[in-house]
Assembly symmetry: C2
Homo-oligomer: 272 residues x 2
């Protein structure tokens, strides 16, 4: 089964469009875990167990692991998800962008070393920076399109032939670049109008939507803007609002509650 | 001393604009080293010793290490360079691009974990994806501007107000984004005219120029296009042509010879 197929199956089976982001920050994880030598593994697998029933996907962010030389814990977390929740796809948030033989090595990192089902990429270097990932036919690649940060305007909103660049990226990713239907796009939750613009361009391509929860994006607005005809098509990501719902010993229950509430709010917004 | 200051000092002291790229590929390194448990460390430190006298900088590419879970060898290589060649700055080629707390973690990875003097970044997410790196005031950040690959045209050559996007990136990086003079730009050697366009925009900002050697860029053309008034301003990178100059036991001498020839060709082109 390909990444996109397993994602669609998971959307249906779980009745959830919630993607749970795994961004472990040593300063914010509960004290009882913080002193463990494998504290990221312990924390993230606890979050996975607490939230899996509410999740359509998990998205570990590699920077949090790389800054602490904790790649082996990241390997372990993804292995744990695959073993215990084989129906839940894992997206490695790495935003890689390079070419030729270098891109092949990044693809190997994401798909062979970390066993991710999909990876996030930057489009700045063009198609041949995406192509090496497509050689893994069962995997997915999710390209940055319109991001939810302040500086997202700096490049993405520059006008080309009367249209912003992020729309050109959406056209390329849903057209000539999408050779085998493996691509998705990142579109921030803070700009619902632009989610709608992207949706109009890309058909039912999966959108990864960060920016709800701690970043304040409006769930109703972004669901209405981005939902497909079958009321799917989105992975709406929440990381910190779930991970750090409580800094106490009840962090598992608190994370589960926020994940459930977020899933439910998304489902209400899409009329389920 | 800041990255830019140490780079300028190294340019002068070494009479070299050659950046030696460290892209270790297990299939191409000599057999005598290949079976070592620390083969990347052994190979790269041998290359460093062989080429240091001809180099203004070293540029390890992290993907080659990440695909083999060899980050600890990369840490060791950079430590080795700092210890044995303290005057030679090290650029971690990582092309990171993310925002806020995630970018802080990537900056920590590059500057604290790996102890790089500078890191390459993608500009697609805008200024706040660059800003966290600038908090390390003695470090540098080198942004992708115009890349030497085929697909580099896909985004970088889109026209905004009659100018290609790569020129807008050059304007931003040399203007409002360059708060403390810590930025440089990546401009591929295969487009000398565009190196000249970038140089006209950015003053004497350092340019990292990949694409000579294995990628076939013309040294004379790119030096003429990118050199500053003081005949510096460029780190002209060669990786594979040096690293794999010989696959035999004479790889050190072969690498040294190619590094010397490349340095000399650059110096001839700049009239030294």
């Amino acid at each position: 089964m390909t990444f996109i197929e397993s994602l669609k199956q998971r959307w249906n089976q779980s009745r959830s469009l919630l993607c749970v982001g795994l961004d472990p920050d040593i300063n914010r994880i509960p004290e009882s875990i913080r002193n463990s030598k494998t504290c990221f593994y312990d924390f993230c697998t606890a979050i996975v167990d607490a939230t899996a029933q509410y999740a359509c996907s998990f998205k570990p962010q590699i920077a949090y692991f790389a800054s602490r030389a904790a790649e082996s814990e990241l390997e372990g977390i993804i292995e744990y998800i695959h073993k215990n929740y084989p129906d839940i796809p894992v997206i490695l948030d790495a935003k890689r962008g390079d070419i030729g033989s270098t891109a092949k090595h990044y693809a190997k990192e994401a798909f062979e070393r970390f066993q991710a089902d999909a990876v996030t990429l930057s489009p700045y270097m063009g198609f041949d920076s995406v192509e090496p990932y497509l050689e893994y036919e069962d995997k997915g690649a999710i390209l940055l399109c319109r991001t939810s940060n302040r500086g997202g305007n700096d490049i993405q909103m520059l006008q080309v032939d009367g249209k912003p660049i992020y729309q050109r990226v959406a056209e390329l990713a849903s057209g000539p670049w999408n050779l085998n239907g493996q691509l998705g796009l990142v579109v921030g939750a803070t700009y619902p109008n632009e989610i709608a613009q992207v949706r109009a361009i890309v058909g039912d391509m999966p959108l990864l939507v960060p920016g709800v929860g701690a970043q304040g994006g409006d769930i109703n607005a972004c669901v209405n803007a981005g939902i497909t005809a079958d009321r799917c098509g989105m992975m709406i990501n929440s990381s910190r609002a779930i991970l750090y719902a409580s800094s106490g010993e009840d962090f598992r229950e608190a994370a589960a509650n926020v994940a459930k509430q977020t899933r439910d709010a998304i489902n209400t917004a899409r009329g389920l």
